[in-house]
Amino acid sequence: MSTETQHDLNIDRSVGDFSYDVEYAYDAGVGLTEATIDYISDVKGDPDWVRAFRKEGYRKFLEKPMPTNWATKDLDNIVFENIRYYLAQGQQPKRSWDEVPDEVKETFERLGIPEQERKFLAGVEAQFDSEAAYSNIKAAVGEQGVIFVGSTEGLKEHPEIFKKWFGKVIPSGDNKFSALNSAVFSGGSFIYVPPGVKVKHPLQAYFRINAQNFGQFERTLIIADEGAEVMYMEGCTAPKFETATLHSAVVELVALKGAKIQYVTVQNWSSNVFNLVTKRGVAHEDAEIKWIDCNIGSRLTMKYPGVVMKGEGARGEVVSIALSGDGQHQDTGAKMIHAADNTTSNIISKSISLGTGRATYRGMVHVPKHLKGCKNNTECDALLINTNSRTDTYPAITVRGQGNAVQHEASVSQISAEQIFYMQQRGLSEGAAMSLAVNGFVNDLVQQFPMEYSVELKRLIDLEMEGSVG
């Protein structure tokens, strides 16, 4: 495909590209030592066991090597000493909109988040830097017994519910970045949905990074009790800064017998952010966990949402869209661990590489011994727009024993010249034709996003293609 369309395809990231001066009430300074962790624990009033958990995480973080034996060398550009690990405005999440400081409101309003969405979303937990600046759960959800709080509040006030699973789905030593998160986590959402409760409206949280060199380390734990259903949506936009920013979240999902959890992410960090996220769910008997993941922003994203299918009949699914523009590397994928009979998993991944962008799919599918009736289906499709775009696919599939069916397929293609020619014949510019073709490529996956997000996604893709018309 021609190079002259390259500039036209650059996404307009200026939509989230602004910041306001905020006076930080708590600031742990730069760099990470044990004293930083004590400082965070003191400020947050952590129970002793949480403080011990953080220290254990810190120890493992120091022990673990960087995964550069398989991952990109770009990771070596993270300077851990130059990062701020904790920063928060205040300790108590704000409950009502009126209490939210004006300048914070203004930031959110520029993003077009709250007023209208509040009307149909069950609760908004908007994270402004480390702590939730705003938290609201509609009375109806609260009455159903749903707990929707920040991580600090969850561990302090509901340990009987959250302690059992906290750090169990993703042990702090899982990888270097989950260990780092375990040491310095703050913010994120802790959600408990009682047995049989089906939360009608999606729960939503917005995350933003708003300080130079400031890492954000949310911790999210969602537990859907037997037969419960919940959808959680997470979206990110971040102001652009001159030095790299580290974002390393840990998200743990627990779907007990017959429960359903859908976790939706639209990631649009600015292009200097390292986004290194560990996401995993455990699905018990007949439970279902579905990750719907869209990565558009960041400098480097490494994220492989996983499902451990622990109970018979459990289902896991990952739907992933990645868009890599100039200078970006979207290193995404999925992990499916079958640990019981008759478990089913499905991975569908589509990536688009533009300009010098690089999209990588990494997958792991594991079917251990003596299991019967396990099925996995994996499909990865990559679209290359320019001559210097790059795409990679690195799946790893282990199957032990017979009685299971696993299939993986991947393809790489470019937008066909015939398609573009056909559309140009009908009066569309090359840019508009490209835009249509790209939208067509991801359309079936975009349909799977909840309505609000598919609108947002289409808007993002349109923005990207905007300059190409005329």
Binding site: N69, T398, A405, Q414
Partner: protein, 422 residues
Amino acid sequence: MSALTEAAPVQGSWPSWFHADQQKAWESFRALPAPARTDEPWRFANLKATDLSPFHEAGSVRDAAALVSRSTGWESVSGKLIFGNDALLHAESAALPAGVLLLPLDQAARDHEDLIRAHFMTAEPRLGSRKFAALHRAKLRTGAFVFVPKGVVVEKPIEIWHWVEGANAAIFPHTLIVLEEGASATVIDRFVSSGDEPSLAIAVNDLTLGQGAKLTYSGVQEWSDKTTAFHINATEVSKDATSTALQMNLGGCYVRGESDSHLRGEGSRSVMLSINPATGTREIDQRTFQDHYAPRATSDLLYHNALSDTSRTIFAGLIKVEENAHETDAYQKVRNLMLSDEAEANSMPGLEILADNVRCTHGATSGELNEDELFYMMARGIPPQQAAQLIVRGFLGSVLERLDHAELEAHLGEVLDKKLGI
């Protein structure tokens, strides 16, 4: 401690320039680290199986004539070399067209220095076995050299036999095939153990194809079930040349295969095939690379594994499309047929695409015997055991069709039948 990994190489019948390179290879072998858990090219591999300490350099075979008489393969060959424990036992080349060379490698190094310098182990192994390839080079005593000059077509196959004999004997089979512009040949490499003793084979086969050349290469490995074997390949394909290479792994305890195809010229084509009936405790560990440097080249990989008992297979393949290798057409497929609850198949089909306007697909499947097919045959009076065997034969044999050589397909089909007891 064994002389294999402790004693410096001896010159034997090599010319000095060749032996000087062997000394360098020996130093590399000593300096290079052993494979480690965290090395990506050794992911999933059973590293204990790569321990060389039980083995020693092979001595002479007991009865050369017996091995020669057991070397019955293709009925009417155009040339044949038989090696036993890295010594030439038999050579025939009367039916070869003029100009074609079929020589033991040490003789070729003496008489055709330029050719050997230009083509012998020129590509650095990239798929994990650098250390083992260095040992191969250092300890090499001879090998097979096939050279087909410009425009010459060798109609009948050339057959090369590599025998190993003796408990814990180590051998280093080597096959170097060079086809000049427009040349064409079919080569069958046979790897056999004389008994059922444990042994070590570190084999290298390098295939070099000039412009428009056509090579059909089949490596048929029937090592004893206690043999540790490395089969390291590099294939260089020039403009409009077609290489078709098959690896049949019918024996061995731990078998490591590395096949590295370099598609250097426009319109070049590399077909990479493998047939792997994995039985007992066998581990078949295969790493492949389809590296596209030039535009409009094609590569097509098809590996079929049938896993029974407690066998394991590892397939790690990479298609890489370098910058400017536009209009690449690359395909990669591995299929695992699971015949036992204890077997394990690992598949890592990879793609790295740095150019646009390409068509690259890969696939990996793992499944079991098709119940409908079994039922169909049982309904016609075929006992279930035999029906299953026939389905496995059909599954593995379908790869042979890709050789696009009916006689060779029939011949290798018979070898497969014998192995499967059909």
